[in-house]
Structures are given as C-alpha cells and as structure tokens.
Assembly symmetry: C2
Homo-oligomer: 318 residues x 2
C-alpha cells in the first residue's frame, strides 16, 4: 500500500492511496489527512486498503499535485547511521572522528516538508547549499522506553527524503555542541509513503535494501544502497524513545545514504564527494549548488517505490 | 492580557482568558484553542480582549485544571542566552568554553508540553534529573530572513518554562555535535501566557526584567533576573529565521536564567549550583533529583504573572 497527500485541502492536504503505476489516486473516505490515519491506524486500515484498490481505477494525477506525505509533522528526528558518511563528513569539516557507541541523532524542523516538485527556497548561495539523500520511517505512537525489538511494529510507513543542508553553517553550529538550526532548513519528501509489506524483500532488518539515486542537473551523482546502516530504524526509534514518547507521525531519517566504494556508487550529498576529492586529488572539484540548480532523487532500479523528487533551489528572500 | 489552556477538550485543550487574580477564566467565543488564535492573531484579538474582561467575573478554576498554554506546538527552539550559565555548564561538563559570536540554540521536542502541576515522567534517576528555569516567547508567523528589529512585532506572548534536563546524558550527546535528544525530555510550561503589554516595564529590550524563583522541596534554590540575556528574544528569533520561516506558535526559550553573583541570587538549575560548589568548595554537595522530589517556579516578587509551576518528578516506566 502506498499513500500520498494532494496539495488541495487545508494545511495538511488531502490523503489519497496511490495506484501501482503511481499515476492514479483515490481519496480515503473518513480519513481526510495522513496524520488522522496515523493517529488511529488500526481503525483506518480497512478504509486505506479499500482506497488502494479504488486507486487503480481512480483519478489521474500529475507529479505537481502532490504535497509531502506529511506536509507538517509533530517531530522530525534525523539520524546519521551510515558510518562511511560520518567519517567523510568529519574529514570535510576538518573535525576529529565522533567517538560514540550510540546512534547519532538531532531534532530538525518539522512544521514544513516541501512538496516533491516545488522549488526549494533558501536565503543565500554563500551558505553552501547541499542535499542529502535519505530514507526515513513514519511511526505510530511509540511509548517512552520502547525497545528496538518492539519498535519494528511501530513503523507504519517508509519514505524518501532530501535533507537540504547549508555547509558553510553546519560545522560552525556543530562545534557549539547544540546541533543545527540555521544549517538545516526544511526537508523535501518524495510523494509516496510506502507500507513495509509493500516493499517486500527490500525491507529487512529495519533497513531499506534499495539504492537511492541522485541526479544533479540531469547528471548521475550517486546511487548507494540503504542497507549499510550501522543501526536499523528500529534501533533509531529505541534511541529516540529513551526519555520521550514519540507521537504518531514522527519521522525518523537514516542520515545520508552512503556506502564504501565511492568510485562505483558515488554519493548522495556534495559535501561527501568533496571530501573524497580532497582525499583522492588534493583539491575540491565539485561546487555547492547555485540558485536554479536541479536535484532529483529516486529509489530502486525500476520505478521508484517512493516516486521521485525533482526540484530546483531558488532564492528564498524576495 | 493573560491566556491559558484548560485540559478539557481535545489534544489542544480549551483556550481561556484569565482574570487579574488568576482564579477565574472565560472561554474565547470562536477561538477554541490558542494555536488557532495564534494562526490568525489580528482577527482573534477582539474576542480575546472581550474574554479578558469576562474572565474577571468568569468561572472559578483550580491550578490542576490548566494544561500548558500550548499543549503541543509546531516548533520549540531553546536558546542559551545567559553567559553566566554557559560558562558554568562548560565547567560542570569538563568541556572547553564555547567560542561563538552567535546565539546558541537547539531544537527540542514540541509535541508535548507538560501541564504546570502534573507529575513529570522520566525513565531513570541514574540519568541525572535536573530542571532549568527559563523565560520564553511565543511567536506569530515569522518570515525567513526576519531581522531582529522586525522580530519584536512578532512576539505574541511570554511564558515561563521548566526545561527538564538529564545531566548524565547531556555532555555525551553534546560531544557528538548533534545536540540533545535523550538529554531533553518534554518541558513544562507555567499556566499563563502573557502579552508583552501586560508585562509593562518588566518587558524591555526583548527581555523579561523579572526574577525567576525556583524552590526544590520547599527550599529556595535561586532567583536570578531575566534581563541578563546576551541576546534578546528578538535576536533569537532573527537567528532562528535565517533559513526557515517560523510558524505561528513557535516557542523560543531564553535558556537557563542565570546571573553573576551566585552567592546572592542562586541558580535555576542544579548543574549550575554543582559547578559553583566545585569551584568554591572543590566538592559536589547538591545531588540531582530523585523520584518524588518537588520543583516549583514563579516569577516576580508579588503574584507571578505566569502563574506557578509546582511538580513532582516521577518514574515514567512501568
């Protein structure tokens, strides 16, 4: 089952189920928004399943009709679970390796997730505009103290995210120990939120076993696979829930998808490629983004289960 | 004008205006929740003002009837704007001074703010349970790129907060650079959210010129004054809005209220007092909290404009 949100309706849009080819949708009677369905998932399931069947002969939609699956959410916690990414970023920022045996995680802004084909408004090219390709999960209600084993059952949906990042600011904020505020503007989310069973073999061990492919201005940038997480999403949930309950609709991100063997698989963020360039060539070759640059992401080798992100960065100050 | 939220109603409670003595309230016709009023503040003002008058002869209420003014919010950004606190905390954590000329800020959990007299559920006494007395502001909609000068006009309400903190975890998370997730459980908020004009002379230069008094198990702990912020709330707003718009109902915290001259004014968190004990006596004397301990906070020298926080910490597991 794949769910999505159309832009029409209020601030939270209109929930729909999506056809297998991604071109048709059907509304979900009694469940106008995805947040409402997540708040009462078991009760919503029959209507969601009915809508999934109806979607196959439902109304046609265009890519631009879709909002993010959750146009806003009560909580966005972003992990950094790919060790290769962490090591390269510390080199890129001229910082020592992070010594911890726990998952890395920060809380980011969740009052706005940018629709998958909308322009991305940012204040300045001087901030070092970068993208980060991530997988993420959407939880139901998770009690405080939830174990990793129990957490798997609280994963309702899987999503694909572009965690836009400002690299001129990131290391400055990181050095304070407080994490990022200015360095992390709103994220974009691909149109389709997918149930774990829908992913089949591609969802195992709390990880997405699919490549995440990034293109920048139509050129291939990378396609590392999501299974290389040091901690699975269930372990990220348990980490987050140590001293808090997680409300239904919490989104938890994997961090930038990254694999060893960069020459073949490439990267899903510019900063990582730049770190590799410094290591291999002693010089930076790839610039950060300029206004007007286009970033696209999709997952898998055939049709992307999450649909596609295809956006331009734009000046956000009038 | 002082606004509050009663626990009755849905997840967001029921908005009321509060009488001068804090003992009576009146609902706000057409505006059932504070979030709705913040979303459309100018339109809500006449009804809010009418309710403030009606509150003087309104229904009687008990302290336990109140939820936090915003039981949940779309964004909680906590600053650390008192230099004395920052210096002492780095000593307490055995960390070097933070070198930055910008405000310190992290994003914390905002899906739950604990009512002012409810027990505070926490997982373990071994986490080093501490409180932090803070002032905070609630914004209207703030556009990305808002200047500090323009930000003052976006401050709708002023609040008092207890930012519960787990000190055994805080320095571990801080060293990763990612900020705090496990070390920062849900905050408590005092019952009354106060308009800037209601505070009169106590609101100047984007700062609250009132002492914040903490008592632990009935014993005075500290009463430093809120005017010693290195950056005013308007500057914290501008900092936060560099690369994001702030939605109406964003809460921004001052960080732990702290003044130089600890011998007289005391502290509004245990960790700071412990740092002072180490400096002055070479030994820790004050333990962190145990389940059942009681923490109360109020502001000013007479009746507290924000009402009072009076809570016990409690085991949140099992």
């Amino acid at each position: 089952m794949r769910l999505a949100t159309l832009k029409r309706g209020g601030r939270d849009g209109t929930l729909v189920a999506v056809s297998a080819d991604g071109a048709r949708v059907a509304e979900v009677p009694g469940w106008p928004t995805l947040q409402m369905a997540l708040d009462d998932w078991e009760a919503a399931l029959p209507a969601l399943r009915g809508a999934a069947i109806a979607a196959e002969t439902g109304q046609g939609v265009a890519a631009t009709d879709f909002a993010a699956p959750l146009p806003r959410a009560w909580q966005w916690l972003d992990g950094s679970a790919f060790p290769t990414h962490g090591e390269l970023m510390q080199q890129a920022f001229n910082l020592p390796p992070i010594e911890t045996d726990r998952p890395l995680m920060y809380q980011g802004l969740s009052h706005r997730f940018i629709p998958p084909t909308d322009d991305v408004p940012l204040p300045s090219e001087a901030d070092g505009i970068d993208f980060e390709g991530e997988f993420g999960i959407v939880t139901g209600d998770v009690p405080m103290g939830c174990t990793a084993e129990a957490a798997l059952a609280h994963i309702r949906l899987i999503v694909m995210i572009n965690d836009w990042s400002l690299r001129a600011i990131a290391p400055v904020e990181m050095k304070t120990g407080f994490g990022w505020v200015r360095a992390k503007p709103a994220c974009s989310v691909a149109p389709f939120a997918v149930t774990p069973e829908q992913l089949g073999d591609a969802w195992r061990n709390g990880r997405v076993h699919l490549p995440l492919t990034v293109e920048v201005n139509g050129q291939w940038f990378g396609s590392p696979v999501g299974d290389a997480m040091e901690f699975g999403f269930h372990e990220l949930i348990a980490h987050a829930a140590h001293s808090r309950s997680l409300p239904a609709g919490t989104i938890i991100g994997s961090g930038t998808v990254s694999n060893a063997g960069h020459a073949d698989v490439g990267s899903t963020c510019i900063s990582e490629r730049r770190a590799i360039e410094m290591i291999e060539h002693g010089a930076l070759r790839t610039p950060f983004l300029s206004f007007g640059d286009r970033v696209a992401m999709r997952a898998g080798s055939g049709a992307s289960p999450f649909g596609e992100l295809d956006q331009r960065v734009a000046s956000g100050i009038g």
